[in-house]
């Protein structure tokens, strides 16, 4: 059935494409505008980052990467991502599962709250934690009494990062899990599978590409987050500096080569993320097409 649909719609799309095609001049003009915009605002700055980073030679470039404070910043960034990512993975899957598969009181509120970090400025997100855990904050005196440091320390950075990045995985999974009815899970349960086995063997394989996509985006944001982390970190060199903060400090000290060298690492992270994202998107798209095909034949 899917085959016959494809066959009948193919000529129609060809026709509509003809009908809406613009004159050659307009097409070239639009393409040039789009490409010019991309070059001006994306390619040139990206190239500038690498050019600046290598301006004083490869030696300086690598020296500024292995410098003690830079290494500390890299380590802290990796640590933060390594903590934030698994936590958001668990939260994202649990939230998406609950929202897509059950009806419960307060569901729409939960959906709205998941979007909150997207809606507020990251600086506010950071400030929330200062107001909560800072010395003048709500829990500050208690924390100080027990000698627990959150603000201007690693825990604060991790908390702020988790807050900023928690929508990514849940947002990615909710529509996907909505599209897949609970039929397969119910079939698994009627075949005697426990809830956990059903999740591992049926639910997880069906969402794996969406999940991976969410993880990649979440990771990119966790490593690159500036605003929220900046508020809670205190910018203590070698202790509470993440890579983006380190770049800022170096830049403010007119140490351009080092600043751009560290920035180039973040830029490369972005490029790798984009590449991974396209691969996963392509895979997920194929899976979705399979899903559509099977649904098309079902109904």
């Amino acid at each position: 059935m899917a085959g016959s649909i494809a066959m009948t719609t193919a000529p129609t799309t060809a026709r509509t494409r003809n009908a809406i095609t613009e004159p050659v001049l307009v097409r070239i003009l639009l393409t040039l505008i789009a490409c010019g915009f991309l070059v001006l605002f994306l390619v040139v700055p990206l190239a500038a980052v690498f050019a600046q980073a290598l301006k004083k030679g490869v030696g300086v470039y690598f020296a500024s990467l292995v410098e003690v404070d830079a290494l500390a910043a890299i380590r802290l960034t990796l640590l933060t991502a390594a903590i934030a990512l698994p936590l958001n993975l668990v939260f994202g899957v649990a939230a998406a599962w609950a929202i897509a598969k059950f009806e419960f009181f307060g569901k729409s509120l939960l959906i709205t709250l998941i979007d909150l970090p997207f809606a507020v400025s990251p600086v506010i997100s950071g400030l929330i934690y200062v107001l909560l855990f800072g010395l003048q904050g709500l829990l500050g005196p208690w924390l100080a009494a027990h000698d627990i440091k959150v603000i201007f320390a690693v825990p604060g950075i991790v908390l702020a990062t988790i807050f900023v990045t928690f929508p990514f995985i849940a947002r990615e999974l909710i529509p996907l899990m909505h599209a897949q009815s609970a039929d397969e899970e119910q079939a698994a349960i009627s075949l005697g599978a426990s809830g956990w086995k059903t999740f591992l063997r049926v639910t997880l394989p069906n969402i794996k590409w969406g999940l991976l996509y969410g993880v990649i985006l979440c990771n990119a944001r966790a490593m690159g987050e500036f605003g929220a982390v900046s508020v809670v970190s205190g910018h203590i060199r070698g202790l509470t500096n993440t890579m983006p903060l380190h770049v800022e400090i170096l830049y403010n000290e007119y140490n351009f080569a080092a600043a751009f060298a560290v920035a180039s690492l973040l830029a490369m992270l972005a490029l790798v993320t984009l590449a991974l994202k396209s691969i996963v998107e392509w895979k997920a798209c194929r899976q979705l097409q399979l899903l559509d095909a099977s649904h098309g034949e079902n109904s």
């Binding site: 397969e184 119910q186 079939a187 009627s190 075949l191 426990s194 394989p205 399979l290 899903l291 109904s299």
Partner: protein, 334 residues
């Protein structure tokens, strides 16, 4: 293994889906649950399977006189076949069928070799042994439904429940699969309930038909019983096309218009009645033959089909549908 449902009620918000429903399915029978959409026949099936639970305080479900109402679906040993197959799309046909065996706790799990043996014999049973390494998306609807059936049978269910098993298939495949399911049931004799809104399917396939409407069972009986002795106008209407008239009952005779027809069972009853006649129960003559008859004009003829379908209009403007065998139709030369 018999299935018994005792006084089950189920409400969804303000909607009463099932209202005090009781049902007994004797061991080894193939029973059809027949009703229009919205009659909650699927809800009843899902409650038997444990995929849905009855209202607390209402009745219970028993398998072979053992109360299973508190058991979860996974513990009931029920084979459930879904309308849209619900095959695991990331697994091959083989893996789909093997699933129920693979997820068993280690103690109860058959060996790799046994699983392979079992799956292949099931795939042979549904005549799909050659498709074991395909994915569900590569199969036709009929093939998918047979895989779903094999998968349900793999766990050696005590009862088999099928939710509109042929609902998503086209007419020809449906017909074939229907006969195939009947043969399969005669072979394996597992107590089965299937839900359908297609009266033809229910009458052809089932040992016993349960007719449902508005969350209640309105009649239970063999296909013969429900067709020839319908318990209500609803059953009569639902099991096939019927002509309805208003008439009077008087002195053991029914009058429609001024035509009297003997009705011996109703001796001594009188008053206004409704009269129902199925299209194939009429006899058509071109001239009055002296017996009580109704005068009518032919409006429409459709001779394409197993019998010729005529639409007549009486002098009072009532429409009557009549089915005439082709042979008789040619004799009449209308």
């Amino acid at each position: 293994m018999s299935i018994e449902v005792r006084q089950i009620s189920k409400t969804f918000g303000a909607f009463k889906a099932l209202d005090d429903v009781s049902l007994l399915v004797p061991s080894g029978e193939l029973v059809a649950s027949l009703g229009p959409s919205g009659s909650s026949k699927t809800t009843l099936l899902r409650i038997i399977a444990g995929l849905e639970f009855a209202d607390s305080g209402s009745g219970t479900v028993l398998f072979h006189e053992e109360d299973v109402a508190a058991k979860r679906a996974a513990q009931r040993r029920v084979g459930f076949v879904f309308q849209h197959y619900a095959l695991f799309r990331h697994m091959t046909v083989f893996e789909n069928v093997a699933f129920g065996l693979r997820v068993r706790p280690k103690r109860a799990r058959p060996s790799r070799e046994e699983i392979r043996e079992r799956v292949h014999s099931l795939l042979r049973l549904v005549q799909l042994d050659w498709l074991g390494d395909r994915y569900p998306s590569q199969l036709s609807g009929g093939q998918r439904q047979r895989v779903a059936l094999a998968r349900a049978l793999a766990v050696e269910p005590k009862v088999l429940l099928l939710d509109e098993p042929f609902g998503a298939l086209d007419a020809k495949v449906r017909q074939e699969l229907r006969q195939w399911l009947r043969r399969l049931h005669d072979e394996i004799h597992v107590t089965s309930v299937f839900v359908t809104h297609d009266q033809e399917e229910a009458l052809e396939l089932a040992d016993r038909v349960v007719v449902m409407n508005h969350g209640q069972i309105v009649q239970t009986g063999t296909p013969d019983e429900v067709f020839h002795q319908p318990a209500s106008e609803f059953v009569l209407n639902f099991l096939g096309h019927v002509n309805a008239f208003h008439g009077r009952l008087e002195g053991g005779r029914v009058y429609f218009g001024d035509v009297p027809v003997d009705a011996p069972p109703y001796q001594g009853v009188s008053g206004a009645v409704r009269i129902f006649v199925r299209p194939h129960e009429w006899i058509i003559e071109t001239k009055a033959n002296g017996r009580p008859s109704l005068k009518a004009t032919v409006c429409q003829i459709n001779a394409a089909g197993p019998c010729a379908r005529l639409q007549l209009a009486t002098d009072y403007g009532e429409r009557i549908d009549v089915d005439v065998p082709h042979e008789r139709f040619r004799q009449l030369s209308l």
